[in-house]
Symmetry: C2
Subunit: 147 residues, 2 copies
DNA sequence: TAAATATATATTCCATTTCATATAATATAA
DNA sequence: TTATATTATATGAAATGGAATATATATTTA
């Protein structure tokens, strides 16, 4: 017997609402990403680096929130495919600095444009006040959770 | 050179804000899920079935938004582990109906309690009005995207 | 400074997911 | 009704992800 038959769980569960909306928002756009020959994780890495080139692997991981070995291997593949460059940090020789290559830059610039266009479609029915409110709430939630 | 050096992309990109907040909200709770010996995907399936037992694989997939073969294999494993039951649909013999077993029910009930408690911690600093506003916006976004 | 501890990244091995396709049942069209 | 298309689920091979651990450098402690 359900724990609580008269009140659906997931429809009032924040983590579910976030996961579902996240997936739905990303879904159509990811089809375009794949059409460009890029996996979703590649796109996330490129987008995260697009305004912060030269991060260490650790700093990058704080943005993309992957597992460390997963990111390490993704970087290896992306370097092999010519999308990124890996340089040793002179200050801390354990660390590597990750840069977008010219090829990766072209790719991410295209995708950034498509992403913005896609977002404007998703949010077409929302006023700019509503959009700001929604994004603001999410940013606040992120800040709360990061501290 | 960045496409737009003076305006960070990801911090104003809805899909990123959703993905990041989703991951941050789920993160600590998923540690508890794993501590209960359950993978995150198992938990998502059990939670989705908790208030809608007896869905077809396809209906369930519309809730969890996995790939069809992924869900199919997850179900196979969960049945083998005694958490779920798979029955043929009498009306449509192609379809299978998925039910939670007694064992699965016990497990999910425990996790549902922990999930609610975790959510109340995450949202501790929010008034109930703010909580309702946030969830309402997400539900509206989901509805928009589903139609 | 030597030893111990901590940190950043890489690697190995195994589990899981994905892509493409198969199978079986249903719905539709000729 | 027979052929065709569609739908629901399953499966196999290959790619990817994750847990544990290794390696190399940096930091702290005695």
């Amino acid at each position: 017997m359900p724990m609580n038959a008269n009140k659906p769980f997931v429809d009032d569960y924040l983590a579910y609402l976030l996961a579902r909306s996240s997936k739905l928002v990303s879904e159509q756009f990811h089809a375009k990403v794949k059409a460009a020959g890029v996996s979703v994780n590649y796109w996330r890495i490129l987008a995260s680096l697009s305004d912060a080139d030269g991060l260490t692997l650790k700093q990058l991981n704080q943005r993309v929130l992957f597992n460390q070995p997963t990111l390490s291997k993704l970087i290896t593949r992306m370097v092999a495919e010519g999308l990124l460059e890996r340089h040793q940090d002179k200050q801390d020789k354990r660390a590597i600095l990750i840069f977008i290559s010219a090829l990766g830059r072209d790719l991410v610039n295209d995708l950034l444009h498509e992403a913005k266009w896609h977002e404007s479609e998703v949010l077409a029915d929302y006023s700019s006040e509503q959009q700001a409110l929604m994004k603001g709430m999410l940013r606040q939630l992120i800040n709360t959770l990061e501290s």
